[in-house]
Amino acid sequence: MGSGGRLTGNRLQGVVGGRRGCNGAEELARAGACEVTGEWKSRSPVKTGLPLWMLGLGADLLWADMNRLLAFLFHQGVLDEQFLQLQQLQDETSPNFVSEVVNIYFHESEKLLRNLRGLLMEREFSDYKKMGIHLNQLMGSSSSIGAKRVTNVCLAFRAATEHNNRPGCLRALEMLEHEYCYLKNKLHELFQIEQQRALAAGVRYPVQNN
C-alpha cells in the first residue's frame, strides 16, 4: 500500500527485489532491465560501522558464499560441469571470460525468447520450423554455457514443435521463460559475489602495478 516499496538508502533493488516468482513474459521484461553492476551490499556482523571487506575478512567469507551458491546451483541441476569448464578457461590473460560469455548468452537468449513468444502469439501461427530454428540456437548456447535446466526445457519444447503441438509449445515456453529468469538471477548473484570478493581480495593483497 502507499507508494510501491521503500527506497532503502540510496539504492533500489532491481529485478531481485520483491517476490521471486515468475510469470513468464512480465518477468522476462523486467529481467531485461537488469545489468551486472558493481553495486554490492555491505555486511558487517560487528557494529564497527565498517564494511567487512575493509576489515580484510570479506574475501574468505565471500569465497565461501560463492562456492555455496555454485554448489547449490549444481545440486539443483541449474548448472552443469560445462559451467566449470568456462571458469577453468578464465585466467589472468582472460580475466572476464565467464561474464563476457554469459552476458552474450543473456543478450542472445532474450532475443530468441522474444522471437519464440512472438511466433506463438500469432493468431495464424503455423511456422513450427522457424520456431525449431530459434530453439536449436537457444539450446546450443545454453548447453555451451552449462545451463542444464534451460537446455532440458528446450528439448521438451522442441519435441512439442515436432508434433505441431501448440498448447504444448505454449506451456514449454512459459517454463522456458521461468527457467531462464531463474538462471539469470542466480548468475547475477554469482557475479556480484565475485566482484565483492575481488574488491575484498584487492584490499588484502594490493595489486602490483607493472
Binding site: Q82, Q85, L86, L89, D91, Y105, M139, S141, S144
Partner: protein, 254 residues
Amino acid sequence: MGMAAAESQQFHVLAVDDSLIDRKLIERLLRTSSYQVTTVDSGTKALEFLGLRENDDGTPNTPSVSPNNHQEVEVNMVITDYCMPGMTGYDLLKKIKESSSLRNIPVVIMSSENVPSRISRCLEEGAEEFFLKPVRLSDLNRLKPHIMKMSKLKDQDQNQKQVIPEKIENLLEVQKQHQPPPQQQQPPQIQNEYPQPQEEAQVQPTLEQQQQSLQQNNNNNNSNSNKRKSMDQSLSPEPTDRTRPRYSGIATVV
C-alpha cells in the same frame, strides 16, 4: 585474432561456427592450448579466408586458388560446426577435401547432435575427428596426434627460414632431408605435454643429443613425404572426465 604470417611458428587453427558463444568458446579453448586462432561465422567466409574461390557454375572441378591469399595466411587446421545456415560444416569439409591445395589441411567437425550416420559420413569424407558439443579441453587433447604430425610437416617446409645456431648448422646441411630440431623454434605448448619418444623441448641440446633426436625422427617418420598420413596410428587413450564416443579415422561407426 591476427592473420598468421607465413613465418609464424605457431599452429594456426581456423574455427568456423555461426554461434557467437561457441566461437568465443572454441577460440578460448584453442588459445589456452597455445594455438593461434581465427574465427569466422560461415563456411563461405572460411573458404574466402583459405583463399578458395568457388566456381560459379557449381561443377565438381577443383576450385581455383587465389595465390596471393593463400601465401599470406597459412592455416594448419580447420574446426567447424556441422549445423550452419547456408553452407554446412559437411559442405565445407567436402570443398576443402576436393581442393588440391587445401585437402591436406585436417578438418574437425563439431556437432551438438550425436547422430551416428552424420558422424560416419563426415569421417568418410575425410574429417580427422568429430567432437560432440560442448567441446572441452580434454577433446583438444585428441587433436594432439594430428597437430604433432602437422607441425613436423610444417617444420620441413620452413626449414630454410629458421635461424639455426652455428654448432648444428653443419649437421643440418648434412641431413637436409630430415627435420630441423624442434627446439630451435617456439614450440606449441602441447609438444611438452604429449608423450613422445623425443626429448623435452625445453632442454638445450648438445650436438650428440641433436644427432640422436634427428635419428629418432628419421625412425619415427618413415613417411615424411606423405602429406596425408593414413589413419593407422592409434590415438593414445587420454583420460576423459566423461564417457563419450571416441571417433577418429580408425573407428567404424555403424
